[in-house]
Amino acid sequence: MADIPHAHGARPRPLSPHLQIYHWSVTMVTSITHRITGVALYVGIVFIAWWLVAASMGPEAYGPFLAVAGNPLGQIVLFGFTWAAAYHLLNGIRHLAWDIGYGFVPKDAMWSGVVVVALSIIAAIGVFFWAYTVRMGGPVS
């Protein structure tokens, strides 16, 4: 039960060792990161919505969007969303592989976690590198 342990006036019950007791492993880090990136991307949908609405309302509304997306802070946030999306996508594929029974042996789950983290960073940097060089070198929207 995930209930409050002392709720019913009983003697405090013994608790099992909690999170901070354990030595952090690759699978633990990738698991909680999947959740954190998921929640972050949930918020990121608002940004996509703003993009669409701004575009639909014409240049006067698109300007402020570009200003926010293009300034350094906006770029950092967008880089964060890009990395979060890359990570959640790649780690999601890892989860789907587990679901159909592949790679669930601890050793495999560990190295695939390292691969996912590395690839997500490469992908995010690659997207921004492309945006800044191949695409006219201007600010990214």
């Binding site: 995930a2 209930d3 409050i4 959740r35 998921g38 929640v39 991307l41 949930y42 949908i45 608002v46 996509i48 919505a49 993009w51 669409l52 609405v53 701004a54 575009a55 639909s56 309302m57 014409g58 240049p59 698109y62 293009g70 999306a85 996508l89 999601g92 594929i93 989860h95 789907l96 679901d99 997207v127 492309w130 945006a131 695409r135 006219m136 201007g138 600010p139 990214v140 929207s141």
Partner: protein
């Protein structure tokens, strides 16, 4: 796809108030989101640093508008299920739990409506 177990149909709702449906829906949307997200990434890259006209002409192509609509809807369904599991895990107080679950759904309907209306305005 029939994702309901016979036991669920017989017994109705269990302790989780639902059966395997959300589990399946989460996975089906995640598979669909693999190509859709990659498409969106390339679409966004193609429109980077551009003028509003480029965005409008891009979405005025039926394929792009359709894929964007699908992306938004699939993304929102997946997001609602994901956020619900986060709420189920961390929000313990019953009143607050119901409120957050409602807000979660409300967010998706609201954002979904806004995005689709914006898309329709661009297309028309």
């Amino acid at each position: 796809m029939k994702s309901e177990t016979p036991l669920h149909r017989v017994e109705g709702l269990g302790a989780a108030h639902s059966g395997t449906q959300h589990f399946w829906r989460e996975r089906i949307t995640s598979v669909a989101l693999i190509p859709l997200t990659i498409w969106f990434g390339f679409a966004a890259l193609a429109l980077v640093g551009g003028r509003v006209v480029d965005v409008l002409t891009f979405f005025q192509r039926p394929w792009n508008a359709g894929l964007m609509g699908l992306f938004i809807i699939t993304l929102l369904i997946h997001s609602v299920i994901g956020m619900q599991s986060v709420i189920d895990d961390y929000v313990q107080q019953p009143g607050l739990k119901v409120l957050s679950l409602l807000l979660n759904r409300g967010f998706a309907w609201l954002v979904g409506a806004i995005c689709l209306v914006a898309l329709l305005r661009i297309v028309s």
